[in-house]
Amino acid sequence: MKVKELCEKLGWETVFGDGENEITGGIYCCDLLSIVMGRAPAGSLWITVMANVNAMAVATLADTACVVLAENMRMDEEAAAGAEKGNVTVLCSGKPVFETAAEAAKLLELI
């Protein structure tokens, strides 16, 4: 499933990007950046509350399909610039990490 399709179905807000990436690496949840760097599969839907520019760099370099900001977290200007530079699709969910992941997992038929 494409990121934008999932986003639409779950009513998440698209903060940045076209959502054209295919989700091929399942779902990954974590906020510590080098754990994400080392363990998030390429093409994964990464759910976090870390909305800073460094998170955008991690998404870019580790090839996640997108970043989903849980708990209605918002990027600052630097983070937004980072998302643009790395062409990262950033979505925003108003729910906590677990609920966000559980809803996505159902749709992706992972659970």
Binding site: D31, L32, S34, M37, G38, N54, A57, E78, G82
Partner: protein, 149 residues
């Protein structure tokens, strides 16, 4: 060194967390444009980012030199910072001296050096207290691998 080898140099300022990752991002773009296997690109991107961010956070900034040959990519990341006192300890998963402020930004899991080890084909670290740290990351370019965008 072959005739076809490419070289790139980056100066990385210290303590500017917002700029950290800029050089790694630029290198990733170059590797992608060369049409290298995505997994090869990903390996170097991850290992180089961890070295770059360590240089910014712990090493006070420094330089990155990239050499791309037919069969491998080599990144040399060097700083003249405080150095690493006990490298074996630093290589352990979870060991970190990151500050409270750095932890609040998402750093300090103590996974950067283990990630470099995991994603490089060869890793050489030289560090001396009071002199600095240099990290040499080698990622092989698989000839047999499928070449995709």
């Amino acid at each position: 060194m072959t005739v076809n080898s490419l070289h790139y140099h980056y100066d990385v300022p210290g303590d500017d967390f917002t700029r950290a990752g800029v050089a790694s991002g630029a290198v990733k773009q170059i590797l992608k444009q060369l049409g290298l296997n995505p997994e090869t690109v990903r390996k170097m991107s991850i290992a180089l980012y961890e070295a770059e961010i360590n240089m910014v956070i712990h090493g006070g900034g420094g330089v990155i030199d990239i050499d791309i040959d037919d069969d491998k990519i080599v990144a040399l990341v060097s700083d003249q910072g405080p150095g690493i006192e006990d490298l074996d300890l630093a290589m352990q998963e979870g060991w970190s001296t990151a500050s409270e402020q750095e932890r609040n930004l998402g750093f300090g899991a103590g996974m950067g050096l283990p990630n470099m080890k995991k994603y490089s084909d060869e890793l050489e670290i030289n560090s001396e207290v009071g002199v600095g740290t240099s990290v040499k990351i080698t990622v092989n370019i698989e000839k047999s691998g499928e070449q995709r965008d």
